[in-house]
């Protein structure tokens, strides 16, 4: 009996591009999203790579969804370039505005059920968290709403399609103590979040060939990504207005503070690279620092 094809759903988030240094704030200290350059966040990119892994390894169908304003298109295109996704979903409606993680999870739950021609997803993958909303709750909450088991910080996984289960390794850092790698088996459907360090590895010729083929396809698809884009509003998703947007958000934001730029503790000293006496001093200093450094 042929195994049924694997359906993968990825939820990603458009994020301000902090790396560019062109983050802009409103006068009240909140992020000015309209003026800040947006990209597919690094955490979302890791999730997208995990989907690419499924594509290469299991010839999976991949759908990528995001909730956000229409400019989120670009992040979806970027995600398609990475993963060769077959469907791109944008969940966009004015009434979604002001959503906290729980209300977002509601939209995403509905979105997932629309993915892959309405078949949903055997695995839903999210990033570990987003760079601009440090809570890391959206993933687990969406999993909870979908009633899928949740596995966080996944660094490696494989799927037993016939046995319909996932074998995953997750990375747990017990800060200051030691790191643990936990191996977990769970039934499908499942929700996983990719650890930021997640990097798929492809070790056989056939996988490498498939990587090349998929990336090629992805480039062609992304060139006219609108063809793969499906935009859903609240009605299209069949959302209950009580559970989305502001009304669906129990979180109360008390105050947002602009993080003041800390004064650097480092001091810069200029040294003339041609002056042997000065260089000697640098060497001595390095040696001293190295001998004093605690070995962790």
């Amino acid at each position: 009996m042929p195994v049924r094809p694997l359906n993968v759903g990825v939820i990603v988030k458009l994020e301000p591009d902090f790396s560019e240094g062109n983050v802009s704030y409103n006068p009240d200290g909140t992020l000015n999203r309209a003026e800040t350059k947006n990209i597919l966040g690094p955490h979302s990119a890791a999730a997208t790579l995990a989907a690419f892994y499924c594509k290469v390894k299991y010839d999976a169908k991949v759908a990528i969804g995001t909730m956000g304003p229409p400019i989120a298109n670009q992040a979806l295109r970027q995600a398609q370039l990475i993963s060769n996704a077959d469907e791109l979903h944008l969940y966009s409606d004015r009434i979604f505005a002001g959503a906290d993680t729980l209300a977002t999870a509601e939209v995403l739950r509905l979105g997932v059920s629309r993915m892959n021609k309405g078949l949903g997803a055997d695995i839903v993958i999210s990033g570990h968290r987003a760079s601009d909303g440090e809570t890391g709750q959206t993933g687990p909450q969406t999993a909870w709403k979908l009633s899928y088991p949740f596995i966080g910080n996944v660094i490696d996984f494989h799927i037993d399609q016939e046995g319909r289960s996932i074998y995953a390794k997750r990375f747990i850092s017990l800060y200051g103590f030691y790191d643990v790698i936990e191996e977990i088996q769970a039934p499908l459907p499942v929700f996983i979040s990719a650890d930021p360090s997640y990097k798929p590895s492809f070790n056989t010729i056939s996988e490498r060939l498939s990587v090349a083929r998929n990336l090629n396809e992805a480039r062609n698809k992304a060139d006219n990504f609108e063809k793969y884009l499906q935009v859903y509003n609240s009605e299209g998703l069949g959302a209950d207005p009580r559970y989305v947007g502001l009304p669906g958000s129990p979180t109360i934001v008390y105050k947002v503070e602009k993080i003041p730029k800390a004064k650097a503790k480092r001091r810069v000293e200029f040294v003339d690279g041609n002056d042997t006496v000065q260089l000697d001093m640098v060497a001595k200093k390095l040696l001293q620092l190295m001998t004093e450094a605690p070995i962790k």
Binding site: I205, L209, A212, N216, F270
Partner: protein, 625 residues
């Protein structure tokens, strides 16, 4: 273990041609390339010839890649003029060898491999994918083995699980590891090799065209013999690309071993030749040393501002002097007329001079420094280029033609690759990979190639054209010995007899006589001294230091050294201290030690070391090639 029909090791011009030809024949093949992407490890001079020999046929690149090669491939310029210069200090005697260059060719294009190879790779892999094959880059073949009772070859790599194939095409270049692990041939010795050194120099398109007196559809090649090689057997070349120049030289390794000079210094000598200097000269900004006392903060601020201005100046100027650049700038709406762009450039220059203490003057802009060995097919071609069911092609088989100043390695490798692919396809059809059926068939095919003839004997028609080009040289000028040969050769019948006799002697005995310091250095120097005209120029290029040259290269350092020194005290290794192009070797207490991080994988030290390429994606990546 996964199975494929064919594996090709090496994604240079030879390997890619083999892949495409197999795909053309409907065969599945996977190509392994160690570089991060195909085209990052390959160096050439390089003129790519398409040829039409009078006897027999060769396979040219367009026979495999189709008409698209001529229409779409990113080659640089058709080379339409070919001039040899005999040099002695600031004197120069020039001979127009265009007829020699045009002998038996369809065309000759200058190419930069880092641009050309990605195009070939895309074309080859698109086609190969349809057959279930393709290119896998970033993978380094480590070894091959045969399992008992099977002719299948198991390939081990540093990156992937082993896999199994029915035949292998070895296109892994002059320092072939497949040749090394199978012992299919000996390592090439210094007598069989040339060291090729090259720099790519920037020169805006229309300035280049004016200077070399060529149109946009033409290009020039200038060859140099005489004192430019610092008394070594070899010669210099300068080929015009679209908006760069490939300047380089090849030196017989024996001659370098006798008289070791650092490649970077050899290159400096070539660049400082008056004519070369005039050819590469451009308007270049330089920072004046400043006495002004300013704070470090201010200095850094000024530096960043200046860098920004320089970048804009540079881009704008490249556009200004390029064929389509002005059109592009005007269409973008940023500028109205050509003059406007010109005055903007002048304004930027002025800013740099007035505010940031820069000055503009004559110099040249070096983009990339590279070195690689070249096998001299006359001396080292594999007579039976196979081992079991592995076929060797191109540089890996030691097959390259040096005829006069002309280097033909690219086209020879392409011809080999087609022959190897055809032989393998035939074996696949019959499922017969015996030496008799595969190896011998391929050997026979290669032996029939006119290129092999060029590696075996002197072509008297070619010689005649050569002599016709040099007929203005007074016979007595080149010393009595050469004068006599000239006289002998100028008569049709006597030439025929002489060449026949020479071919009977064979290259083995002939070459040491012909390829001598006399031929390559003394005669040209005498020619230039006595007949040459003086080049009137007082521009002396300031060449970058080796450190600066290395700093421009891209490396992905491998923590494991890919080369092991086994004879730290040998005479050969002592010479590597000078001959390694990036000074990876040094001598401590009489022992030669290696620091592999700067290695550009040229292969010069391979003869007496345990030599491997770095693991996949590691090592140097060239941007021009």
């Amino acid at each position: 273990m996964e199975r494929y029909d064919v594996a090709i090791v090496g994604g240079g011009t030879s390997g890619l041609t083999a892949l495409r030809q197999l795909a053309n024949l409907g065969k599945q093949a996977v190509l392994l390339e160690a570089g991060n992407t195909a085209g990052t490890k390959n160096i050439s001079g390089g003129i790519l010839y398409s040829k039409k020999p009078k006897n027999g046929r060769v396979y040219n690149i367009e026979d495999v890649f189709g008409r698209e090669f001529i229409d779409d491939a990113p080659y640089e310029r058709p080379i339409t003029r070919y001039i040899l210069h005999a040099t002695s200090k600031d004197k120069l005697y020039s001979i127009d060898l265009t007829p020699v260059h045009e002998y038996q060719i369809n065309y000759a294009y200058s190419v930069l491999l880092s641009k050309l190879i990605p195009w070939l790779a895309k074309e080859a892999s698109d086609m190969s994918e349809k057959m279930g094959g393709g290119i896998i880059s970033g993978v380094h073949m480590r070894s091959v083995r045969w399992e008992q009772g099977s002719s299948d070859i198991v390939i081990d790599t540093d990156e992937l699980e082993p896999f199994r194939v029915k035949a292998v095409i070895a296109a892994d270049g002059v320092n072939s590891e497949l040749a090394e692990v199978t012992k299919a041939r000996n390592k090439f010795s210094s007598e069989q090799l040339y060291q090729g050194v090259k720099v790519v120099i920037k020169l805006p398109e229309t300035i280049l065209e004016e200077r070399f007196n060529v149109t946009s559809e033409e290009g020039a090649a200038h060859l140099f013999a005489g004192d430019v090689t610092m008394n070594h057997i070899g010669g210099g070349f300068l080929y015009t690309n679209r908006d760069t120049i490939s300047l380089g030289a090849v030196y017989h390794m024996d001659s370098l071993m006798d008289n070791p000079v650092e490649p970077s210094r050899l290159m400096d000598t070539l660049i400082r030749n008056k004519l070369v200097a005039e050819f590469v000269k451009d308007r270049v900004p330089a920072k004046k040393s400043s006495q002004a006392l300013i704070s470090k903060d201010e200095e850094i601020r000024q530096h960043f501002m200046a860098v920004k201005l320089l970048k804009t100046w540079n881009n704008l100027r490249s556009e200004y002097y390029s064929r389509d650049g002005i059109k592009r700038l005007i269409e973008s709406g940023k500028y109205g007329t050509k003059d406007e762009i010109g005055s903007r450039i002048a304004f930027l220059e002025n800013e740099l001079v007035e505010k940031y203490n820069y000055e503009f003057g004559d110099n040249y802009v070096e983009l990339e420094y590279s070195t690689k060995l070249i096998p001299d097919g006359k001396r080292c071609r594999m007579k039976a280029p196979y081992y079991k069911n592995i076929l060797f092609v191109g540089d890996a088989a030691g097959r390259g033609v040096f005829v006069g100043p002309r280097i033909e390695g690219l086209n020879v490798g392409i011809d080999d690759a087609v022959r190897a692919a055809n032989a393998v396809a035939r074996s696949l059809d019959r499922n017969n990979f015996d030496e008799q059926y595969l190896g011998n068939f391929y050997t026979k095919s290669v032996e029939e190639s006119p290129y092999t003839r060029d590696m075996k004997e002197i072509d008297k028609d070619y010689l005649k054209i050569f002599l016709d080009c040099s007929k203005n040289i007074p016979k007595d000028i080149v010393g009595s010995r050469y004068g006599m040969i000239f006289k002998l050769m100028s008569s049709g019948t006597l030439r025929g007899i002489a060449v026949g006799f020479a071919n009977m002697l064979g290259f083995d005995r002939l070459l040491p006589l012909v390829e001598s310091v006399d031929t390559y250095v003394n005669v040209p120097v005498e020619l230039a001294d006595r007949l040459g005209k003086t080049i009137d120029s007082n521009y002396v290029p300031s060449t970058p230091s080796l450190q600066e040259r290395i700093a421009k290269l891209d490396y992905n350092d491998d923590t494991f050294p890919h080369i092991q020194v086994t004879k730290p005290r040998s005479e050969f290794m002592q010479k590597m201290v000078s001959l390694c192009p990036t000074r990876c070797y040094s001598c401590e207490n009489g022992d030669v030690i290696l620091q592999h991080e700067g290695c550009i994988e040229c292969g010069t030290c391979a003869y007496e070391t345990l030599w491997r390429h770095p693991r996949g994606t590691k090592g140097v990546s060239y941007k021009y090639g």
